[in-house]
């Protein structure tokens, strides 16, 4: 069998979370009535001109700096022409040979190995509207609310070789834009979109194979699956001696296959030329310095801080920085009760587990950081046991009440009263004479049986450590 390697490059489009559109003052919200977020510029009416929204440039510089890109001193907007009903002007204002950010990179980790993925360019452009096709109607509808929403297109170098590497790159990039607070990052709503270019070649070949572009990839999983499918497909064809043709494919997520959409035989001629309605975008050192001074902490920096300051293990720190909100949540919790490991454990096990079970986003978590902190404090101070805490957590999740009132209302305070505990022990041993004899005969494993019986008798309220200690003493007598 021949030794074939896949070459993967990704194009990511992120919608920027600016208040207004890239070239007009129309708002950028979602979920509004069709065509309500439009103005003459958005509609492409004659005689109106684009005016660049400076916030978009701020966001681009932020991402450029965070991805180790060079920031171009003088970038040029260009018109990209094609005809489609959702493109009001007949051209998209984009960038062509002078994008604002270029030559950057991101580090990914796959199979415990670090790898640098190059970023060719990050360019500013405007989004298009949406065509809405109705069943059983001879016409389609157009919603231009999205037209003119600012986009950054992030083009990677063809540096990835495995679908998992593509997945890792996307996750890192996604995490980054969330940390920078420049994109809502909702893939299903199209805030964060990805097209993948993939080709296959002999491992020792000098030139890449013919590439296929895959569109409609709206989750990290789908990107990985689609790439894996397409790579296998191309390998098979190559081994059969079939020539790969350059084409665009769609990922069919139901059948988990890539399907041909259009071949590049009639490749579009976009007739790019410099946008005469906009002056060259000049970014001086002051502008960049100003953005640098106001840069939020990046995930890698948060990671280091969590490990250094709070002495967390790397695995927990990795979990906590996966989402900016989680890291924030963690640190907020610490202000109510300082037990980094305890709180980290509760977040990464109980909280994550519950969110996962309910298919919820972290942002929608009904338990406040303060409540989690207090819960851990109740355990740490011996007021409740770890086991009871799980019950309390469950009630917190369902009712949103704070842990202290739950413990009080439900009478869940842990019992550390020696006389009371001794009474329970004595009664348990009395009720189980056979087991007691067996134990004394040498079957020490029965110790946990007595613990269980005593806990049960106290409705799980006795302090388990104290119980252990006293039971041991009693049995030794």
């Amino acid at each position: 069998m021949s030794d074939l390697t896949a070459i993967i490059g990704l194009e990511v489009h992120i919608q920027l979370a600016t208040q207004s559109k890239i070239f007009s003052s129309s708002a950028t919200e979602t979920g509004q009535a069709p065509n309500s977020l439009t103005d003459p510029v958005t509609l492409g009416l004659p005689g109106v001109l684009p005016v660049l929204n400076k916030a978009v440039v701020d966001y681009a510089i932020k991402l450029g700096l965070a991805t180790n890109c060079k920031i171009r001193e003088k970038s040029i907007f260009a018109r990209k022409h094609y005809t489609y009903p959702d493109l009001p002007k007949g051209y998209q204002i984009s960038q062509h040979d002078k994008p604002t950010c270029y030559e950057g990179w991101l580090n990914i980790r796959v199979n415990k190995q670090s790898k640098k993925i190059g970023i060719t360019r990050i360019q500013l452009e405007e989004d298009t509207g949406k065509n809405i096709h109705l069943a059983n109607e001879p016409f389609s509808l157009i919603d231009l609310n999205r037209a003119g929403v600012p986009l950054l297109e992030i083009v990677s170098e063809p540096d990835m070789r495995l679908p998992e590497e593509a997945g890792a790159y996307l996750r890192i990039l996604h995490q980054l834009v969330k940390y920078l607070n420049i994109c809502n990052g909702n893939m299903e709503e199209g805030n964060f979109r990805c097209d993948a270019n993939v080709s296959v070649m002999q491992a020792n070949a000098q030139e890449f194979g013919t590439r296929v572009e895959i569109k409609n990839l709206n989750s990290f999983k789908h990107v990985e699956k689609a790439l894996a499918f397409e790579i296998e497909q191309q390998k098979k064809l190559i081994e059969q001696g079939v020539t790969i043709i350059q084409e665009t494919k769609l990922w069919d997520e139901v059948n988990e296959v890539t399907k041909s959409m259009r071949s590049k035989e009639y490749s579009a001629d976009y007739r790019f030329f410099p946008e005469p309605d906009l002056l060259p975008l000049i970014i001086d050192e002051n502008w960049i310095a100003n953005i640098k001074d106001n840069m939020p902490e990046l995930p890698s920096q948060t990671f280091e801080r969590l490990v250094d300051t709070y002495k967390l293990d790397e695995y927990s720190a990795e979990l906590l920085i996966s989402d900016k909100y989680v890291a924030d949540y963690f640190e907020k919790a610490l202000t109510s009760h300082y037990n980094p490991n305890g709180i980290s454990n509760w977040i990464t096990t109980e909280l994550f587990g519950r969110l996962n079970k309910e298919s919820m986003e972290f942002l929608d978590c009904p338990v406040s950081p303060k409540s989690i902190a207090i819960l851990v404090k109740l355990i740490d101070t011996g007021i409740i046991s770890g086991k009871i805490a799980k019950t309390v957590f469950d009630i917190m999740w369902r009712t949103g009440k704070d842990p202290q009132s739950i413990v009080k209302e439900q009478n869940l305070i842990q019992i550390s009263d020696n006389i009371f505990i001794q009474e329970i022990i004595d009664s348990v041993l009395k009720q189980n004479p056979t087991q007691l004899q067996t134990y004394k005969a040498g079957k020490v494993q029965l110790f946990s049986y007595f613990v269980g019986q005593a806990m049960k008798a106290s409705n799980d309220k006795v302090n388990p450590e104290l119980l252990n200690e006293m039971l041991k003493k009693t049995l030794e007598q």
């Binding site: 003459p40 509609l43 492409g44 009416l45 004659p46 005689g47 109106v48 001109l49 684009p50 005016v51 660049l52 018109r79 022409h81 005809t83 009903p85 009001p88 002007k89 007949g90 051209y91 389609s140 157009i142 001629d269 007739r271 790019f272 030329f273 005469p276 309605d277 906009l278 002056l279």
Partner: protein, 481 residues
């Protein structure tokens, strides 16, 4: 009462302030003139009588209240090229594709005139989408030259030129991309200015060639132009290419700026007197230039050596931008939509095929061709290089002179149909106006004589960027003498 439609703006102002006549009377006089003469000239596509009379009445009230604190343009009637949109008033660019289009916003320059108290008489005829040099390319009929109605008035701002020449308005707005104000001003015997690129906001001027388009003015004398320019110039946040440079009082400086410069040097580019200029035009112009010596100026022969390639560069760049700018007219959101289209592709194709006139289609084809893959370097990129050379020509020339004087057009007005069959010949009639446009410089056309048929001959004065104060003052002194 005298014929109010022959007065200058300053005379109208005096009459209004002295209560010799009201703005309403002044407006009526012009509306009557339009009613009487428009069937002959077809210079107006739409007369906004109701709006004009409302504005005139408001002007009268302001003058009655506090006449000395009203802007100079209060109650002065103006005409607007159809290329410039006005909120609520049909704006078509003389194209079928925009028939019935009522914009929900007003062109900045027009808005500024309205704020200064001007009275909007209506929208004027033009070559479709400002593409043409004769006024023959309107979807709504040709515009005729009032000097002799057998002759074209020039273009593309044909109606705005004719309106001023025929006394239908003392002031009008036009657009000039490659000569569309200066050339019709020359053909109709009036004054027309194309300001420096970036001097006047392009917001609300339907784009033909964005890097060249500039809104300008027509009037019957230079002072009136100076008055108008002050109001329409200035930075506009809605146009990133409009420059944030202070707007001087052009009228205040008009008598003084020119004489202030001792030994003003006038550059005469030799290339403009060799390439196909009509001998009669050349003679009149040379005589006039000689006469100017009496004003104490120095004549300097200069060279603008890339003049010859400017027509080619201009038509490449202008058509490329036009093809792009006109892509939005697709029949989807507004304007003409073909009634026989059966699918979206046909909506695009048929609406455009039916909506655009021949000249517009020719330029869209040309423009898309020069931008297409494989031809971009050979045409568009070369066009840009040529433009850079032309800009450098002017920079060099202005080291030796303060103002450049040239003919406006190689010929005087021609007869209808004379050139419309040969696009190339029509394009060549812009040879003297496009270099100034490509360089983004201000140019003004003033009358300097007539040919043997009695047709006006214009003189073009070109200044350095944003030198309108000196340009207007010089033009004023030349015109006066």
């Amino acid at each position: 009462m005298n014929d109010l439609t022959t007065l200058s703006i300053l005379e109208m102002r005096q009459g209004l302030v002295a209560s010799e006549f009201s703005a309403t009377e002044l407006t009526h006089a012009h509306l009557d003139k339009i009613k009487e003469t428009n069937p002959k000239y077809n210079s107006f596509l739409r007369v906004t009588e109701e709006l004009a009379l409302t504005q005139a009445k408001a002007a009268d009230e302001k003058i009655a209240k506090d006449k000395n604190n009203t802007p100079l343009l209060t109650g002065i009637p103006v005409a607007i090229k159809d290329q410039l949109v006005i909120n609520g008033i049909e704006s078509t660019c003389a194209s079928k594709i925009l028939k019935g289009f009522i914009p929900p916003y007003t062109c900045t320059a027009v808005e500024k005139l309205i704020q200064a108290g001007a009275v909007i008489l209506g929208k004027t005829n033009q070559d479709e989408f400002a593409m043409g040099s004769s006024g023959e390319n309107s979807a709504f009929g040709i515009t005729r030259n009032p000097i002799n109605t057998d002759y074209v008035p020039g273009g593309s701002s044909s109606g705005s030129a004719v309106a001023v020449a025929a006394g239908q308005a003392p002031l009008s707005l036009g657009t000039d991309t490659g000569g569309s104000i200066r050339q019709p001003a020359s053909f109709t015997g009036i004054v027309g200015i194309k300001p420096t690129y970036g001097r006047v906001s392009r917001n609300g001027a339907v784009a033909f060639a964005s890097s060249l388009d500039q809104i300008g003015l027509f009037a019957r004398n230079v002072k009136d132009i100076a008055i108008g320019l002050k109001y329409i110039a200035g930075h506009d946040p809605r146009d990133s290419t409009s420059m944030d440079i202070e707007v001087p009082d052009y009228l205040k400086n008009i008598d003084t700026a020119f004489p202030k410069i001792k030994n003003l040097r006038i550059g005469i580019p030799k290339e403009y007197f060799t390439s196909g200029i009509n001998p009669e035009v050349e003679q009149v112009l040379r005589n006039k230039i000689q006469q100017l010596k009496s004003l104490g100026i120095n004549l300097v022969e200069i060279s603008l050596q890339h003049t010859e390639i400017s027509i080619a560069a201009y038509y490449i760049i202008a058509c490329a931008e036009a093809a792009s700018n006109l892509a939005r007219f697709d029949g989807v959101r507004y304007g003409w939509r073909s009634k026989s289209a059966n699918n979206i592709q046909e909506v695009f194709e048929k609406s455009r095929a039916e909506g655009f006139g021949d000249e517009v289609k020719r330029r869209i084809l040309l423009g898309n061709y020069v931008l297409s893959a494989g031809y971009y370097d050979a045409y568009y990129k070369k066009g840009l290089k040529a433009r850079t050379l032309i800009i450098k020509d002017f920079q060099e020339a202005f080291k030796d002179c303060d103002i450049i004087v040239t003919p406006v057009a190689p010929t005087t007005a021609f007869k209808f149909g004379d050139k419309s069959m040969s696009p190339l010949e029509m394009y060549l009639s812009d040879a003297f106006t496009v270099p100034c446009s490509l360089a983004g410089l201000p140019g003004i056309s003033i009358p300097c004589g007539k040919d043997s048929k009695g047709l006006p001959i214009g003189m073009q004065l070109i200044g350095k960027a944003f030198s309108e104060v000196l340009l207007l003052s010089t033009a004023h002194h030349f015109y006066k003498n």
